[in-house]
Amino acid sequence: MNLENLRNIREKAQTVKKQSTEKGQIKLIVSMSTSGIAAGARAVMTTIMEEIKERNIENVIIAQTGEKGLQTKEPIVIVEAKDQPRIIYGNVTPEIIKMIIVEHILNNQPVQKYIFHTE
């Protein structure tokens, strides 16, 4: 590892991040911390994977992240898409994530009721 390698990896990671949403891909990020998992994030994650597979959705990237902080809103799911603010859903259950997939991911209609923060 030298400084140039590091710069290359950094630039590549930043490009991948930028390009993914520019290409029309949607990123679904589940907060998989101990608090998230305790609140049911694993079931939400499994549901996402099942739904994506069953519906043959190709433009979705599934990712995980750590704790966002507000534990009363766990499990938290973040949706990143082109030309949209980052939308953060709270208290997501398998049932709600199905709703989000159909409405927000497939039909671009964010489910207002479960959004608690945008950035």
Binding site: M1, N2, L3, L6, I9, R10, K12, A13, Q14, V16, K17, S31, S33, T34, S35, I37, R55, N56, A63, Q64, T65, G66, E67, K68, G69, L70, Q71, T72, I76, I78, Q84, P85, I87, I88, T93, E95, I96, K98, M99, V102, E103, L106, N107, Q109, P110, V111, Q112, K113, I115, F116, H117, T118, E119
Partner: protein, 594 residues
């Protein structure tokens, strides 16, 4: 495969009571009847928040919302819309359509300032590339290519970074002492043995941004001249250990750990050591003993670990949060960092907000923010209707800060003045339903259990204090007990080797200082004002208010309430177990708790 049409039927409580489940069944039948079952998918969903217009059905991909659908509308809807493709206009919801994304800004995030937590909830903690993408390891690159170890130590010292484990010693000075200590082999230890009840700051950083800790440790290693680092954490944090190990493996693979990092001649490796969860092992000398494979017990200092630590070699120990701050100081400079926070405490502090607060969770605020702002602006105030009573800071080593001191600002020295300590960052908010004597007893019970037993006063003194507190909560206390508590506290503080004993009396001392009247109420009036201490609580039925509905008698688990219907009931005080079931069951406020 996705079907041609998708119907989302709301089955929240509101819509269900408007027969949405029956409508879903009817739709299914009608769709099958018309042979559309392979083309139309029916999904039952959670509440959409339009309860007064229920039942609501959303149709995709047409993006049509039907409201106030009735059972008799079903056949028409299926034929017209789902078969022929002509939406039923009369049923379409024409109100507020909410196509635009509304501005959702949660106040929880507004006043925070995230340095340590900047990557938590943002990047994938198991991807080193994402960490590097967020400027990760660039501070390490800068250190190894442009800075001498002395430069690094000066930068950290000038930034005014103080140990985030609680005591608040200058990190730069600690590094300097370890660097100056003679010895060819030195060690860096990350103290991730987080044990305060209600605290989870370190866990979240390890789980959310493990590389930030590694980067801080490697920089510390370079600064003090160490080649080997340990992360000491507890086995009860399996996910944190898992992610940290992935981070170590990935960093090693990338050559960020190992030999000749960044083409310099600096070598560094990191290993994880799992503790069994003894609270005393958060104390640095006990922690070192535990890593060495010995029983976790503190020893006399000096010599400090900086002179003689792990296996007798100079050792630098910092907390998780301290290490996570390092990369920001190197990247932005000491001056920038010094500008955040107050004169004596620079930077930010992470807190775990818990208890009777609306927005419980993990927060990071600049030093100098008043506690009131933390609790009311970020925490959103109280969760219940009951008013604020106190905030417990610093866990078992800390104390309770009452309402009138809420304008105290968050920094080491101001918090210390109240008798509490900054600690590692636990903040438990309490309302009037908490009994302060009981809280003091809870924390003392914790430290009493966790005392390693080496120092007599910590071992026996805390036991005696706990016995006195237990007596007080049972109504058997005497006024002299309060003096004995203070005297014992003083002795324990003075004669204990380590932080555990030296701070164990703090919860008792602060509650005695700010809530003495509650102790007196327990001792003199034999009453627990908050109604927590069972032996001091009595439930009584007011015969004026009791209408004899028998609700309480039916709920009583020990059947100690007698009376005939429509006549006032009576509680048998001898048999009553003070469970409070009758109090909750009474709809006429006839039962008093006192």
């Amino acid at each position: 495969m996705a079907k041609r049409l998708e119907l989302l039927i709301c089955t929240g409580t509101g819509c269900t009571s408007n027969k949405s489940l029956i409508i879903a069944e009817e739709l299914k039948k009608e769709i099958t009847k018309q042979g559309l079952q392979d083309e139309v998918e029916i999904l039952t969903t959670g509440c959409r928040g339009m309860c007064e217009f229920g039942p609501v059905i959303k149709v995709y991909p047409d993006n049509i919302l039907y409201a106030q659908v009735k059972i008799e509308d079903v056949p028409h809807m299926v034929t017209e819309h789902f078969l022929k493709g002509r939406p039923v206009k009369e049923l379409i919801w024409t109100g507020d359509n909410k196509d635009e994304i509304e501005e959702h800004k949660h106040p929880f995030f507004e006043k925070q300032m995230k340095l340590v937590l900047s990557n938590c909830g943002e990047i994938d903690p198991e991807s080193i590339d994402e960490y590097i993408g967020a400027s990760g390891y660039s501070a390490l690159g800068k250190v190894l290519s442009d800075m001498t170890p002395e430069d690094v130590i000066n930068e950290i010292t000038e930034a005014g970074l103080r140990g985030r484990g609680g005591a608040g010693f200058s990190t730069g000075l600690k590094w300097k002492f370890t660097r100056q200590a003679p010895g060819d082999e030195k060690y860096v230890i990350c103290n991730a043995d987080e044990g305060d009840p209600g605290a989870f700051m370190d866990r979240s950083v390890m789980e959310g941004d493990p590389h930030a800790i590694l980067e801080g440790m490697i920089i510390a290693g370079y600064a003090i001249g160490a080649t080997h680092g340990f992360v000491y954490t507890r086995a009860e944090y399996p996910l944190a250990i898992h992610r940290l190990q992935i981070a170590i493996d990935n960093a090693t693979e990338y050559g960020l750990l190992g030999k000749g990092i960044f083409e310099s001649n600096f070598n560094f490796k990191i290993e994880i050591r799992k503790g069994a969860g003894a609270f005393v092992c958060g104390e640095e000398t006990a922690l070192i003993a535990s890593i060495e494979g010995k029983r976790g017990m503190p020893r006399i200092r000096p010599p400090f670990p900086a002179q003689s630590g792990l296996w007798g070699k100079p050792t630098n120990i910092n907390n998780v949060e301290t290490f996570a701050n390092v990369r920001h100081i190197i990247a932005h400079g000491a001056k920038w960092y010094k500008n955040i926070g107050t004169e004596t405490s620079s930077g930010t502090k992470v807190f775990a907000l818990a208890g009777k607060i609306k927005n419980s969770g993990l927060i990071e605020v600049p030093m100098g923010m008043p506690l009131r702002e933390v609790i009311y602006s970020i925490g959103g105030g109280m969760k219940t209707d009951r008013p604020f009573k106190a905030v417990q800071m610093g866990g078992p080593s800390g104390g309770c800060i009452p309402e009138h001191l809420l304008d105290t600002i968050v920094d080491y020295d101001s918090i210390n003045k109240t008798g509490a300590i900054m600690g590692s960052g636990g903040m438990v908010v309490m309302d009037t339903s908490s009994c302060m004597v009981d809280i003091a007893k809870f924390f003392l019970n914790f430290t009493q259990n966790e005392s390693c037993g080496k120092c007599t006063f910590c071992r026996v003194g805390t036991k005696r204090m706990l016995e006195i507190l237990t007596r007080i909560t049972e109504g058997k206390g005497k006024m002299e007990d309060l003096d004995t508590l203070v005297e014992l506290s003083d002795k324990i503080k003075k004669t204990s080797l380590c932080g555990l004993g030296q701070t164990a009396p703090n919860p008792v001392l602060t509650t005695l200082k700010y809530f003495k009247d509650e102790y007196i109420a327990h001792i003199v009036d034999k009453k627990c004002p908050a109604g927590v201490c069972k032996k001091l609580v009595t439930f009584e039925i007011d015969p004026e208010k009791c209408i004899g509905c028998t609700a309480c008698a039916r709920k009583c688990p020990v059947k100690c309430i007698s009376g005939t219907p429509k006549n006032p009931h009576v509680i048998d005080q001898e048999a009553c177990i003070k469970c409070g079931a009758c109090y909750d069951a009474c709809k006429f406020d006839a039962i008093t708790k006192g």
